[in-house]
């Protein structure tokens, strides 16, 4: 029961689907933007898989991906077991962090909120390092759960500490900076304590990197995304309402506290799972929602998928850049995203100030 653009005359910039069970309203730009983003991601993925110590022509990559015969007999192995899982892990991490950031910005009505800024990533990272050092026997599958718990506790701590007869976005960010610093110091303490042999490896992980990700990591992250991304999308309308402010939301019949709690939980879950796989990769959750908003507007039904794709695109591209600029040495993609994201954050800060 689709009726496309029923109110075309009234609101020419919206696409509306209605059915008995649910209805959805999308910005008219959404399908085109999503389509272009998917194409871009495919393009960058193929380039990223072609590139490496041993260069594979893109056409070979496409053949290997489609399971066809390749001229180079090793191409299929190289693509399917080494390079493809890493690229997909990057895509997943980017999507998770981007949606986590979109939720946070919507719920806190704070354009500067992002998982790394309010300390969720640092808390999740701390727990992951603690487990790597203290309980190395724990199966990898449980790592995202642990990271989720760590991120959740940190988020609660930041929220409680920032509560002073009400919470303000600014205090939240400041308290987040302080708590993140403490978590980072504890992480260093653990690394010193545990004498992690590969300090350089730990350093790479802490900066955020998909180095060494295989199908195992892809599979671990996958269920988290499959549960929480659709869930967030399903809550898009609630997010829209929350963005208007608590009073308006209550007036419109929202159960504000409950919905906010559920959304924050989702955001922390996505962050925790991403951190468990790729470390504390910065600024994706900050950049992707803003870029997406410029492309498809602020309505969350379109914003969430667009931000997810942009986040994935950024991480895949950042990984490619990190591998290629100083080849054969790899820069962790966290360095690349920091170089992109820090100036962007400053730009947002000044824009926020001028409002």
């Amino acid at each position: 029961m689709k009726s496309k653009g029923t109110k075309a005359a009234l609101t020419p910039s919206w696409l509306v689907w209605r059915s008995r069970l649910f209805s959805i309203r999308l910005d008219r730009r959404v399908p085109k933007v999503l389509f272009v983003l998917v194409l871009m991601i495919l393009g960058v993925l193929i380039v990223s898989i072609s590139y490496g110590n041993y260069f594979l022509p893109p056409i070979e990559v496409v053949r290997a991906l489609l399971g066809q015969e390749t001229t180079n007999p090793d191409a299929s192995l190289l693509v399917m077991t080494l390079r493809l899982p890493r690229a997909i892990a990057a895509l997943e991490v980017g999507m998770g962090l981007a949606v986590a950031g979109t939720i946070l910005q919507g719920v806190t009505r704070n354009p500067l909120a992002a998982p790394e800024i309010i300390g969720v990533q640092a808390g999740a990272g701390l727990v992951v390092v603690a487990i790597l050092v203290l309980l190395p026997a724990l199966p990898l599958v449980l790592l995202p759960v642990a990271a989720f718990v760590g991120g959740l506790l940190t988020a609660l701590l930041v929220y409680l500490l920032a509560w002073n007869r009400g919470s303000t976005p600014l205090r939240l960010v400041l308290v987040g900076i302080g708590v993140a610093a403490i978590a980072a110091a504890l992480t260093t303490l653990l690394i010193t304590f545990g004498e992690i042999r590969e300090v350089s490896q730990a350093l790479v992980w802490l900066t955020g990197s998909v180095y060494g990700c295989g199908w195992e990591q892809v599979a671990i992250l996958f269920p988290w995304l499959m549960i929480f991304l659709p869930m967030t999308w399903g809550l898009a309308r609630e997010l829209n309402v929350l963005t208007l402010g608590d009073d308006v939301a209550r007036g419109l019949g929202s159960q504000v506290e409950w919905q906010r709690g559920l959304l924050l939980l989702t955001s922390v879950a996505l962050t925790g799972a991403s951190v468990a796989i790729a470390g504390t990769l910065g600024f994706i959750g900050l950049m992707a929602p803003h870029l997406a908003r410029q492309l498809v507007g602020a309505s969350h039904a379109g914003l969430i998928p667009a931000a997810a794709l942009i986040g994935g695109l950024i991480v895949v591209a950042a990984d490619l850049v990190g591998r290629s600029v100083f080849a054969p040495i790899e820069l962790p993609c966290g360095v690349v995203t920091a170089v992109l994201g820090a100036p962007y954050f400053l730009y947002l800060l000044l824009q926020h100030d001028d409002r």
């Binding site: 900076i177 350089s200 962790p332 820090a342």
Partner: protein
């Protein structure tokens, strides 16, 4: 103002401040001695005394002279420098959350040192002077970024700009270290903020700059008091604001850059200490600055002792210790001092 202590009240206050100063100095000396005595190898005050004044080639004496003495000298020097720099920055920007670590100045100095070391491929800290250049550039950048925008400089904007600048500079530093794995081991501990493993040679090289920084800072006491009351007040008192700001900025760069050259980037000293000593001496910078220097020195000596003692036989970088102590304090200040 206690310029002419005529009334009994002012006498009392002056006496209290002098007593506080004396107590501080005595405590500092005590901590210094404990820092010399404490360590993996058992020693007592006697050994320390003979090591310093009647040196023979025994292992204990060598340990004290080459490992503990540099450390016991560098820790208080760095602590004092960072605390005074923090106090100056808090007055200069009228921002209760100012600290050379939080605002990215330390990160800038560290990046400059690491970059030069990697570039020229020599890790013996001979490029310490690059720290001053890095600190100056980062200080300029954060001040510029913090005062952009329509509302001028606000606490939040300055702190956020500093936090992001630190993040960016630290990412650059990490990138450089990964690119040249060779220097990683040598520099990693230093980068976490550590007063261990440094020799006195660097200390003597850096100290002239630090002394200059302290001299400028202490000479600005009266002006800083006026400036911290607000630019209008300072202007009304006939202060040449531009000159005072420039001088104090130079002092901050010298002190922060010098301490990074000695001990790597250590945050929160400059945040915590000025707030603590304000309880005792109030807002008068002529007293605040020397008090900050003494208590900064004590704090870092104690933090270093704790860092040595906590995970025996391993050592924590003292910068980690300071963050564990200073982070909660920052959160407390963010809650109580920042009006939104």
């Amino acid at each position: 103002m206690v310029d002419s202590p005529t009334s009994a009240n002012q006498w009392l206050r002056l006496r209290g401040r002098i007593i506080g100063l004396v107590i501080g100095v005595l405590l500092l000396i005590g901590c210094f001695l404990v820092s010399l005595v404490a360590g993996a190898a058992r020693t007592d005050f006697n050994t320390v005394w003979t090591a310093l004044f009647a040196f023979n080639d025994s292992t204990e004496h060598v340990v004290i002279r080459t490992a503990r003495l540099p450390r016991a000298l560098i820790a208080p020097t760095v602590g004092a420098a960072l605390a005074v720099a923090g106090a100056l920055m808090q007055g200069l920007t009228r921002n209760p959350l100012a600290d050379s670590g939080l605002l990215g100045i330390n990160a800038g100095a560290a990046l400059a040192v690491v970059a030069t070391t990697v570039w020229l491929g020599n890790a013996s800290m001979q490029f310490f002077w690059m720290a001053f250049i890095g600190a100056a550039i980062a200080a300029g950048a954060v001040y510029f970024l913090g005062s952009l925008g329509r509302r001028g400089m606000t606490t939040l904007k300055l702190v956020l700009a500093g936090a992001v600048l630190s993040y960016l500079l630290a990412a650059f530093t990490t990138g450089l270290l990964i690119l040249s794995e060779r220097t990683l081991e040598e520099i990693r501990f230093w980068l976490a903020g550590s007063v261990a493993g440094q020799n006195l040679e660097v200390f003597w090289q850096v100290s002239p700059y630090l002394i200059a920084g302290f001299a400028i800072a202490f000479s600005l006491g009266r002006q800083m008091t006026a400036l911290s009351l607000g630019e209008e007040v300072a202007h009304g008192l006939g202060l040449r604001i531009g000159r005072v700001k420039a001088m104090s900025a130079i002092a901050v760069v010298l002190l922060a850059g010098g301490s990074v050259a000695l001990a790597g980037p250590i945050a929160f000293v400059g945040l915590v200490v000025p707030h603590l000593v304000r309880f005792w001496v109030g807002v008068d910078y002529r007293w605040l600055l020397p008090y900050a220097a003494i208590w900064g020195a004590i704090l870092l000596l104690l933090a270093d002792l704790a860092a040595r003692w906590l995970l025996q036989p391993q050592e924590l970088p003292v910068g980690v210790m300071m963050t564990l102590l200073g982070g909660p304090f920052f959160v407390y200040l963010a809650r109580s001092r920042v009006k939104s």
